[in-house]
């Protein structure tokens, strides 16, 4: 998951993400959900829930998990794994905020 820095690309400005909420962007043809945590950190994961395609950016987050709005499966934003017994794993993308710009890397295979 640790893509080299040069693979990261600019996606949006931090202010485009309301505090504590998620928004979806398309990066290299991949739909990526970005979450701006209250701590200021930003996480980037795959946008569609592996369970039934729920829009994860519409889910609720804290510092460690996102909860899918459709059936409330919680996913760990660091490992991508479903917590609490749910099924499935989501892709976690490297992501960094530099000078107010959110930069995300999508693994190009």
């Amino acid at each position: 998951m640790n893509a080299p820095a040069d693979v990261l690309q600019d996606v949006c400005r931090v202010e485009d993400l309301p505090v504590g909420e998620g928004r979806t962007y398309v990066v290299d043809g991949e739909q990526v959900a970005l979450f701006r945590h209250r701590s200021g950190r930003v996480s980037a994961v795959q946008a569609a829930c592996p369970h039934a395609g729920g829009p994860l950016a519409d889910g609720q987050v804290d510092e460690s998990v996102v909860i899918c709005p459709l059936h409330l499966t919680a996913f760990d934003l660091a490992t991508g794994e479903a917590t609490g017994g749910g099924e499935g794993t989501i892709a976690v993308h490297p992501c960094r905020v530099e000078a107010g710009v959110v930069r995300v890397g999508v693994d190009v295979r």
Partner: protein, 844 residues
């Protein structure tokens, strides 16, 4: 569950054995086969075997017994997965899902499959289970020998899916067979609103497990579910040429049917065994080590016959799998299987039946203890022989099930006073106390559905699970039919000694803040906390926020501070951020307010225009007497509201939603009170008020109850002479409950005040997500009445006042539409076909 047919369709040849590893080929990817593989792996078998599994069904392994819950809607497909495909991969098991084995050439030690593959083995395990039996009936088959369309069995996930599909599109079903499976099928179909007839040829239901007295009591209960029961009649034939249209009974009666479920017994699948040249009777014959008549060929599960016995339940196969693995891996080469004592539990909500062993006395000296109270639907009996429990039936009251199962399985000493087997006679519960639990052998099976022994539970506790929930999550114990939960809990408590963590989260208002609602409210008020993040900062352990708690806290804060809180949009569920109801495809449904279900031609015209303009997927009249526009993309929501120009109907919130009314005095010839106007008044006053869970109301003009007021959270019924009855705590969703009569008042104004008082009381004292049908019974209607009607606690004025403030501060959320509250509030969250962002745009 994913269909995996495609990845396995090609024919395959297994590489020659590496070193001295043996090739174990398992035919049957069901409950027994995979349990056996798990047991082999647990004993370190991964180093000794290369495992290949063939399964006719194109899935991983699932818990077949839970199909009944899938059909009744109590469980989703995902909830019944035992081993997902990843499990096979992780354990290096070569799964051939969707590939049927045709025959076995044991002389050459090769398995031939339907895809044309040939797979050699050193050790073969047959676990093919059984097939539903279709009794001979005229018209069952079509000319070409295929089954008449619309006739189903109930055995596999595909069967369950087909039944669900048919339940959605049809009205009438006939179930043939009144045993465990037939009853569960019939119940499942009734929950989907179908008319169901059940035909059973023996004289009473569940005749294999129950005596005729118990059968009679059961019949009444089943009929109360709305199932029409026909016992003692054999189906003569099926009607219909292309598709089934009815079921004909011997006396010529025809039961109309859009589809038919046959649950008339099972037959072991022995064909693979026959092709291998094994000794076969009703099932494949096995000895006490699960060996068949051929060397290196074993069998487990429903396809076997052991000491003359075949089984149709899961408990025996856990024991069989364990013995087999002991033997195969050499962990305990002398392990033996001596047969199983089985008990049966009916998995029909509201009809509790547990039966084990004999259903009545068989010998003169057998003791027979019976307790019967038919009007309550309770029937209990126990059969005792030589001071041992040899049979028991519990119907309508299964509190003693765990204790009896222990007596039955282990032959533990019985209470001298036999009635105590069935009833607690007023004092402390006897049965398995701590002493008895210590005496229980580790190998004793506690959870029969998932084959969990006492030893595994104790092991889970030793591994650090210190709460019943943790033990259940780790071992799956108690997650099947649920009848063993009590025992799992007691063993956990006993094993944890003093270290048990009580699941105190149960008492917390939300999981992330360790306080019950009253204490939480006190703390919030004392510190003047007005935002969700402030609550976390001050009251959560380590100040850590918790996503699962945010919505409940937002609701609580808004209730406590009606004049306004420090709004944090991330504290809201998406529905409350965009004021619409998220749908399965990520679009939203929009429901404008239609007070009391009354509309105008203008309003209808506007709605129609909006529906056209935005090309909505479906226009639906809802159960709450409004109109729902479904399939609206998020980005269109503000425009849709603006064009509608109507207030929100709150079809999405944990809040006051709608008041259903009947036409009452204005038009109905029976009306005793102006129900329509009262409904409109209630909705005008309490629209949008947030609550622990949704609130649906109803007002009717007379007890004919055309708008279903008796089953609403709050229901109001005109009873004549200006009097109105107010009911609270009703429900007509997954749970159906008639509301309790709170009181009768003499004017519509009093109704409005009392309803507001009740809602405020519920807002302040209800647990998060606790519906009124749980809240009212939890406190008891007498208590609710005392507080709200008799003002026993002097709370009434305060409740009315706080509700008044709430009403005054109401603002329609759709007014937000014009100016987004947050950046991208209405941006699509799954922007299909959205152009890729160009970095230049971001920087500029």
């Amino acid at each position: 569950m994913t269909d995996t047919t495609q990845r396995t369709a090609q024919s395959v040849t297994v590489p020659a054995p590496r070193g001295h590893r043996r090739r174990l080929v398992v035919v049957g990817n069901g409950m027994a086969g995979i349990r056996a593989v798990e047991e082999v792996l647990e004993r370190g078998g991964a180093g000794a075997f290369d495992v290949t599994v063939f399964g006719d069904e194109p899935y991983g392994n699932y818990n077949r017994i839970m199909l009944s819950h899938v059909l009744s809607g109590e469980e989703a497909e995902d909830g019944i997965v035992l081993n997902p495909l990843s499990w096979y991969e992780e354990n290096g098991i070569d799964l051939r899902a969707g590939v049927r084995v045709d025959h076995v050439d044991h002389a050459a030690r090769v398995v031939h499959d339907a895809a044309g593959g040939r797979t050699p083995y050193d050790t073969l395990l047959i676990a093919t289970g059984s097939t539903p039996f279709f009794p001979p009936m005229e018209g069952l088959h079509r000319g070409d020998g295929s089954l008449l369309e619309g006739v189903f069995a109930f055995r596999t996930l595909d069967d369950a899916r087909a039944l669900l599909e048919n339940a959605r599109t049809h009205r009438r079903a006939v179930v043939i067979g009144g045993g465990l499976l037939g009853l569960e099928a019939a119940h499942g179909l009734v929950t989907h609103g179908l008319e169901v007839d059940l035909v059973h040829s023996p004289p009473h239901l569940m005749n294999q497990q129950l005596g005729s007295d118990a059968g009679r009591v059961l019949r009444r209960k089943v009929e109360q579910l709305g199932i029409r029961v026909h016992t003692g009649v054999r189906t003569r034939g099926l009607l219909g040429t292309d598709r089934v249209s009815g079921v004909e009974l011997p006396d010529g009666t025809v039961l109309a049917a859009d589809f038919v479920v046959v649950a008339a017994g099972i037959r072991p699948n022995v064909e693979v065994g026959v092709s291998a040249g094994l000794d076969v009777d009703r099932g494949i014959l096995v000895d006490d080590r699960m060996r068949t008549s051929a060397e290196d060929v074993y069998a487990v599960g429903e396809c076997v016959q052991h000491r003359g016995q075949t089984y149709g339940l899961v408990a025996p196969l856990w024991d069989q799998a364990s013995v087999l693995a002991d033997h195969l891996t050499g962990a305990a080469p002398d392990a033996e299987y001596h047969g199983s004592r089985t008990s049966t539990k009916l998995k029909v909500a509201g009809v509790d039946v547990v039966a084990m062993g004999l259903s009545g006395p068989e010998r003169d000296e057998d003791e027979f203890v019976v307790f019967s109270e038919p009007h309550r639907g309770v029937y209990l009996n126990a059969v005792v022989r030589d001071d041992r429990l040899v049979g028991a039936t519990l119907l309508g009251d299964v509190r003693k099930a765990a204790v009896l199962a222990q007596h039955y399985d282990l032959g533990t000493p019985l209470p001298e006073e036999r009635t105590r087997l069935l009833l607690d006679l007023g004092e402390v519960q006897e049965g398995a106390g701590a002493g008895d639990l210590a005496d229980l052998d580790d190998a004793v099976q506690v959870c029969h559905c998932n084959g969990v022994t006492k030893g595994r539970i104790v092991g889970a506790v030793a591994d650090g699970c210190t709460s019943t929930t943790a033990v259940m999550a780790k071992t799956k114990a108690g997650k099947g039919c649920g009848s063993c939960k009590d025992l799992v809990e007691r063993i956990t408590e006993w094993a944890a000694g003093g270290n048990l963590t009580v699941d105190e989260t149960v008492g917390w208002y939300v999981p992330g803040v360790p306080l019950a609602k009253p204490e939480l409210m006190a703390a919030i008020r004392e510190r003047g906390l007005k935002s969700v993040s402030a609550v976390f900062r001050e009251l959560a352990p380590g100040g850590v926020e918790d996503a699962k708690s945010k919505m409940g806290l937002t609701s609580l804060l808004r209730m406590m501070w009606p004049e306004g809180i420090v709004e944090e949009r991330d504290g809201r569920f998406v529905n409350d951020r965009v004021h619409a109801n998220i749908q399965r495809d990520g679009t939203f449904s929009v429901v404008p307010q239609m007070k009391g279900g009354v509309t105008t031609a203008d309003q209808l015209r506007t709605i129609a225009d909006v529906a056209d303009k935005y090309d909505v997927g479906m226009i639906k009249v809802t159960g709450g007497q409004r109109i729902d526009l479904l399939g609206v993309p998020k980005e269109d929501l503000p425009k849709v509201w603006a064009d509608l120009g109507m207030p929100s109907g709150y079809a999405y919130g944990k809040s006051f939603r709608t008041v259903k009314t009947c036409v009452g005095t204005d038009f109905c010839r029976f009306g005793l009170g102006d129900s329509t106007q009262l409904g409109i008044d209630l909705e005008t006053r309490y629209q949008g008020v947030e609550a622990p869970a949704k609130l649906k109301l109803g007002v009717v003009g007379c007890p004919r109850n055309c708008a279903e007021a008796y089953v609403k959270d709050v229901g109001v019924v005109a009873v004549g002479s200006g009097r109105w009855e107010v009911y609270v705590g009703g429900a007509a969703g997954a749970t159906v409950r008639k509301g309790d009569l709170l009181t009768t008042v003499t004017s519509p104004e009093e109704v409005v005040t009392l309803v507001g008082r009740f809602i405020q009381f519920y807002r302040e004292w209800g647990n998060w997500l606790e519906r009124t049908y749980e809240f009212v019974p939890r406190l008891g209607i007498e208590r609710v009445r005392a507080v709200l009607v008799d003002d026993s606690d002097g709370m009434a004025a305060g409740l009315d006042e706080r509700m008044q403030t709430t009403v005054e501060n109401y603002r329609d959320p759709w007014q937000e539409g014009a100016e987004p509250v947050t950046t991208g509030q209405f941006r699509p969250a799954l922007p299909l076909g959205m152009p890729t962002v160009r970095p230049s745009q971001v920087r500029s």
